[in-house]
């Protein structure tokens, strides 16, 4: 039997004016188990708290019921009070007789009666309360960043600067991501490589950062503070330690007809390659799909010319297991495929290109060395048409229902740069809306129109018809002029919608992190926790969470880093003790609870049990990780046998409250 103390607060006149607090205290004093009852003007005041502390000590209370304001107001306060008097804080229950009683009822008799019932319910609950101690789990002071684009690099640098080791896993042979492929960045027009490559070098040289390039996450186990991750280091066929990045092998390689993905297939590379000059790590990689040696066993030229002896055709994928306290997802985006939109003739003419291809065509390290030339005949285009919203804001199956956010700005940039470099070109931009929220963004777009004379046409292109003379007849509507425009263009640039990288969905499954229907990672709260996944210990950086431009990506990357640092500085994580737990003797191992758990907190183990007949049996039973469980209770109802219960809100506690209320 508990020894319960009841404390009725007047809250000045807030409660006392409508509830007869004396009568409440008196009535509740005769409830079974209640050994002390008192009322006081302000129970939350220091004097009030002292009253509670004294009573706990003097009357050897094992449970406390406070009839006062909402537990959302002062539950934490009174728990601390109890703890200060040596009582487990979870032995305190609050009866809400202010917000849910005195403030809504006018009749004193009615309100008093209700207050007594609420007090009884709290007493009934306390009878079944058990002392709870928040679980503690150690924190591995190391972070993993998945994806080595600008988002991943920035997050890694910030975490590393705070003094924690960070690993970056990047599936490509080099870090750098999409930004490495860009020419200039809006709205400042500074060169992407000039601001990105120093960061890449910083990441490579930072003592706290280790880069797993050409690697992928294979498996993730564990939970916040204690992740165990298996990383697959894909075979490069080149020893990254020995390789000096001299590039001789790439020159001598006889297989030179491999579509160069870095230039989006607009030129070729060799079968052994370094993606681009500033690659980090600057190490060659053999493409086994094209390498003559790998395919036929003959050749081996690269091995012959490599003075460092770095080539190893027998290299195998390698699996490494590392421990992390936090994981940051920074898997980025890709432009969508355009096969569903061939009214723009992307598949029918080489002179219809995507905006990312345009970046490469204007980049000094691109296939045309930075001179804007038509892919079909290498001639300088004189009329260029940009088409916005290709696949964005599409309802139905064809495209993406969302706005891709970055296209308006990069198209303005492309248009402006084209006009600046080639004043003899006519540049048209077909748009539905020009969306430029962002610092100096609208000014930038206006400059394209006002200073650079870019023709912005409100309307959409309906068809691009390649002509026999090599031009492209662009037919679109000009809604302002109420006419159908037909332009003979030399080059058409499509602002393709962007979508999350294809690796994101399988990764989310491994991380038990949630995603929306577009495969963007979901944040724990769109406003209050925008860089965290609902799964504890998983953080989001960059476009994997939604379309973002570079400034926004870097901000979010640093925000995610701050959250990671906040986690890693802790030596131990203290959990919420009101978590689910499973009675192993009753567990069926049926997985119902696991399926409804939003946090992946439930796992199953095969355990040996002594059976009543002295035999042993192996049974599959659920096990809740208290560090991951957030205590929603979904599992408790999914469990048919009642093996799963929730601390602080147990089946018997809630039923006792029901009984007390209905008595």
């Amino acid at each position: 039997m508990q020894r319960i103390g009841v404390f009725v607060c007047w809250c000045g006149s807030n409660i006392a004016a409508t509830v007869d607090v004396k009568q409440v205290a008196e009535t509740l004093k005769s409830e079974p188990g209640v050994v002390f009852a008192a009322d006081y003007q302000y129970m939350c005041s220091e004097a009030g708290q002292n009253l509670i502390k004294d009573a706990i000590r003097d009357h050897k209370l094992t449970g406390v019921v406070i009839c006062s304001c909402s537990p959302r107001m002062h539950e934490a306060t009174f728990r601390k009070t109890a703890a200060a008097a040596g009582l487990n804080p979870y032995m305190v229950e609050i009866a809400n007789i202010r917000e849910q009683c005195s403030w809504i009822h006018k009749d004193k008799a009615v309100a008093t009666e209700k207050a007594i019932i609420l007090g009884r319910a709290a007493i009934a609950k306390v009878h079944l309360n058990a002392p709870l101690t928040p679980g503690e789990s150690p924190v591995t002071k190391r972070a993993l960043v998945i994806g080595g684009g600008i988002a991943g690099i920035q997050t890694a640098l910030d975490i590393a600067e705070a003094g924690f080791p960070v690993d970056i896993v990047e599936k490509q042979p080099t870090i750098g991501g999409k930004m490495a492929q860009l020419d200039k960045t809006f709205p400042t027009l500074d060169c992407a490589a000039c601001i990105l490559t120093p960061k890449m070098v910083d990441a490579a040289q930072h003592e706290n950062i280790h880069i797993y390039a050409y690697s992928e996450v294979e498996e993730v186990k564990g939970f916040v503070g204690n992740f165990s991750v298996t990383i697959r280091k894909k075979a490069r066929m080149v020893d990254p330690v020995k390789c000096t990045g001299c590039g001789l092998c790439t020159e001598k390689c006889p297989m030179k007809k491999v579509p160069n993905e870095f230039n989006l297939g607009m030129n070729n590379r060799s079968a052994i390659y370094i993606p681009f000059a500033q690659a980090v790590p600057k190490v060659a990689t053999i493409d086994p799909a094209y390498c003559i040696k790998m395919k036929t066993g003959k050749c081996g030229l690269c091995s012959t010319v490599c003075e460092a002896g770095a080539i190893d055709y027998t290299q195998q994928d390698e699996l490494v297991e590392e421990q992390y306290g936090a994981i940051v997802v920074a898997t980025g985006y890709n432009p969508i495929k355009l096969d569903q939109f061939d009214e723009f003739a992307y598949a029918q003419s080489p002179d219809v290109i995507t905006s990312l291809e345009f970046e490469r065509l204007t980049n000094a390290a691109g296939p045309t060395a930075g001179t804007l030339l038509r892919p079909s005949d290498g001639k300088h285009p004189h009329t260029i048409v940009f088409v916005q919203c290709v696949g964005s804001r599409c309802d139905g199956g064809k495209g993406k229902s969302y706005c891709s956010k970055i296209c308006c700005m990069y198209t303005a940039k492309h248009a402006m740069l084209t006009r600046e470099k080639y004043p003899d070109t006519d540049v048209y931009v077909f748009y539905i809306d020009v969306r430029t929220p962002g610092k100096n963004f609208d000014e930038f777009y206006r400059r394209a129109v006002e200073e650079y004379g870019v023709h912005y046409i409100k309307g959409m292109v309906g068809k691009v018809a390649p002509q026999a003379d090599g031009t492209l007849l662009v037919q679109g509507s000009d809604l302002i002029e109420n006419r159908q425009l037909r332009l003979n263009a030399d080059l058409v640039v499509l602002a393709a919608a962007i979508e999350p990288d294809a690796s994101a969905r399988p990764l989310a499954t491994k991380l038990t992190a949630s995603m929306d229907t577009n495969d963007f990672f979901t944040e724990a709260h769109p406003k209050l926790r925008p860089v965290e996944s609902p799964t504890a210990g998983i953080f989001l950086s960059g476009a994997c969470q939604g379309p973002k431009d570079i400034p926004e990506t870097v901000s979010q990357a640093s925000a995610a880093a701050a959250k990671v640092i906040g986690l890693l500085v802790k030596d131990k994580l203290k959990g919420n003790p009101c978590v689910a737990h499973s009675n192993e003797m009753m567990c069926n191992g049926c997985s119902s609870c696991e399926k409804v758990c939003p946090y992946g907190a439930i796992t199953y183990v095969d355990k040996e049990f002594r059976m009543p007949d002295r035999t042993t049996a192996i049974r599959r039973v659920a096990s809740v990780n208290p560090a991951v469980c957030q205590g929603c209770g979904a599992c408790t109802v999914a469990c048919p046998s009642g093996a799963m219960d929730l601390n602080g809100f147990s089946n018997s506690q809630i039923m006792a409250e029901v009984d007390a209320i209905c008595k």
């Binding site: 909402s70 979901t522 979904a634 008595k663």
Partner: protein, 147 residues
């Protein structure tokens, strides 16, 4: 209890999730929005914590109506809890209805932490509905009846 014998006052048990509806109930108190005192609230972490057993238990012990309140779908503090609530309670209520138990004795309502007015209005409406139905006879346990 001193209840006027002539005037039937139904006993209503309201299960409210801690994050939205309980806060909504607090808000209706803060704004002094009245609803009958025969509504008694039980705080649960999430509407998905409510086991059908609790609902039946309440009726057994003498409740005349049971209402569950949770965050609006999409706003669950635990992201998905109320979606499970929605399915479970739909099926439970349908079963009660199938057994001929008055369907208006049970209800699920989504009330956010900002919807104090909605909370009070919902409770007023529910109490009125259950009052019209009268005493719970079809799911009562005579042993639990007050003498």
């Amino acid at each position: 209890m001193q209840v006027n014998e002539k005037e039937f006052k139904p006993l209503i048990v309201a299960f409210c999730c801690n994050w939205c509806s309980y806060a909504g109930a607090d808000l209706s108190g803060t704004n002094r929005l009245n609803y009958p005192a025969n509504v008694k609230i039980i705080r649960v972490p999430c509407s998905c914590r409510v086991n059908p057993m609790f609902v039946l238990r309440a009726f057994q012990r003498g409740a005349d109506g049971v209402i569950l309140c949770g965050c609006h779908p999409g706003d669950c503090h635990y992201t998905t809890g109320n979606y499970y609530t929605r399915r479970r309670m739909t099926l439970l209520f349908s079963m009660l209805d199938y057994l001929g138990i008055e369907r208006d004795r049970t209800r699920v309502e989504w009330v956010s932490a900002a919807e104090g007015a909605k909370f009070a209005a919902t409770m007023n409406d529910f109490v009125a509905t259950v009052t019209r139905l009268g005493e719970n006879k079809r799911l009562e346990d005579l042993r639990c009846k007050k003498q």
